[in-house]
């Protein structure tokens, strides 16, 4: 039954693109991929911009401290099966920003990465190839297995997971708090 649906995965990967403080070079290359010249949509790829409906997370940038908690939150909000693609040298290792006081040197310290795309900036051809690789990995994944950020020590083992708890725990730990008061009235 589900084997039947699995076949269609590769035909409809929806992506979510998150910029964790990059120089925008890689982002522009991603946009170029989606544009008429490289036309990723011919593979059924659309940029959903919404973690809940996305399958592939494209991350650019070296993960600034402000972006940390957001990245984790977005990752947790994506439903399994999902894959993560680190686009550009920054996202892979920190790139030119490596060892700066405000960055975390790449996303794989926080979330499991499936495909690394090198280059500063990553070339569109590379990105397309990387996404192709990501789709191959994605096809092998199971929806039953919950994937959580690397930083989480204990991996929850329940049928139905309340992700809000995990998210708020992560947020407590990793956010540079930017307090925005809630006023109700």
């Amino acid at each position: 039954m589900f084997g039947f649906f699995k076949k269609f995965r590769k035909k409809s990967p929806w992506i979510l693109h998150y910029n964790t403080g990059s120089c925008n070079g890689c982002d522009i290359e991603i946009m170029a991929c989606l544009g008429p010249k490289y036309d990723l949509e011919r593979f059924g790829i659309i940029n959903k911009g919404n973690p809940k409906q996305a399958d592939i997370l494209l991350v650019t940038g070296p993960v600034t401290k402000r972006a940390r908690a957001r990245l984790l939150r977005l990752y947790m909000q994506m439903p399994e099966p999902k894959v993560v693609v680190a686009v550009g040298a920054c996202a892979c290792t920190g790139g030119v920003f490596r060892h700066m006081y405000n960055v975390e040197n790449g996303i794989d310290r926080f979330i499991p990465v499936d495909v690394y795309i090198p280059g500063c900036a990553a070339r569109p051809e590379n990105i397309i190839e990387g996404i192709k690789k990501a789709i191959e990995i994605w096809e092998r994944k199971q929806k039953e297995k919950v994937e959580v950020p690397k930083v989480l020590k204990e991996i929850p083992d329940v049928e139905t997971l309340d992700r809000r708890e995990i998210i708020s725990k992560l947020e407590e730990k990793y956010s540079e708090r930017l307090v925005i008061e809630e006023d109700e009235k």
């Binding site: 649906f5 035909k11 409809s12 008429p36 036309d39 949509e41 011919r42 809940k52 409906q53 909000q77």
Partner: protein
């Protein structure tokens, strides 16, 4: 005729999906891209079935499903029911569930989208009602079979109203320049943002039904001349897709002004003129 209409209503999600696939293809070709295959919506559909379901709360998810069921029911009521006016109000009922879902979560984009959806209802519903009245006026029947077998061709009497209806289609389908409630780059889909997996599938499919709904109403303006009706539908959709590619999003105020200041008077004028003229 009843059998055909019933089968059509039964198959309407599939046909709607095909139209959506065509739309994506056409739009891609207009931008000189290759575009996704025509069956792409169904691939998306199958993929969504196989995703792990996430939800904010069950009320919200249920409203998504209710939207799909009610939208399908509205299509049924339009195609086999005895009264197209009722079908139009049933369509509003379906949108009620959609907005209720949007309102029910504490998510800024979702609530914003639901609020904008209300503006869409406000802008588009009177024109749809006018369209039904116009069909009645020229064919003398509220019944789809009566309209399809009458020997008048409504568009010949109602050209202005038809123009207004065509310009309402972007409002109903949420296509640029009136994709305000969906606004993908701005509020990321609006009221549909919090759905995922199976529940998003329901909303995604319900949106295909909108093509059928509006397409059938446009088709009826051909009266018993089915070729003309098909041509009208094709022309309308092509026009809307071209418009979608060629324009940018307008603000909600502009949409209301446009719908109430231009489209409504146009439609009303046409109806009144026909009523007085004969």
């Amino acid at each position: 005729m009843k059998g055909i209409l019933f089968t059509f209503a039964l198959l309407s999600p599939i046909i709607g999906g095909l139209i959506y696939g065509l739309e994506r293809k056409f739009k891609a070709r207009m931008q000189n891209r290759q575009g996704p295959p025509i069956l792409q919506p169904f691939y998306d559909f199958f993929k969504l079935t196989d995703k792990r379901a996430l939800q904010v709360h069950s009320f919200h998810s249920l409203m998504g499903i209710a939207f799909f069921v009610a939208a399908w029911f509205a299509v049924f009521a339009l195609l086999i029911g005895p009264n197209i006016l009722i079908a139009i109000f049933l369509h509003v009922l379906a949108l009620l569930f959609f907005t209720a879902g949007g309102f029910s979560v504490k998510s800024p984009y979702s609530v914003m989208g639901a609020l904008r959806e209300l503006a869409h209802i406000l802008a588009a519903e009177p024109i749809l009602v006018f369209a039904a009245i116009a069909l009645y006026l020229s064919t003398g029947s509220w019944n789809i079979e009566g309209i399809l077998t009458s020997n008048t061709v409504p568009i010949l009497q109602m050209p202005l109203l038809f123009c207004a209806l065509v310009l309402t289609v972007p409002i109903l389908l949420k296509r640029s320049p009136f994709d305000i409630s969906e606004a993908h780059q701005e509020i990321i889909g609006g009221a549909e943002i919090e759905y995922s997996g199976l529940f998003y599938e329901a909303v995604y499919t319900a949106k295909w039904l909108e093509y059928i709904f509006i397409g059938v109403i446009v088709f009826l303006f051909g009266g018993s001349n089915y070729l003309l009706g098909a041509l009208l539908v094709a022309a309308t959709f092509l026009f809307v897709w071209l418009l979608d590619n060629a324009t940018t999003r307008l603000t909600i105020h502009y949409m209301m002004k446009f719908a109430w200041g231009i489209l409504l008077p146009l439609a009303a004028f046409n109806i009144f003129w026909v009523a007085i003229w004969r």
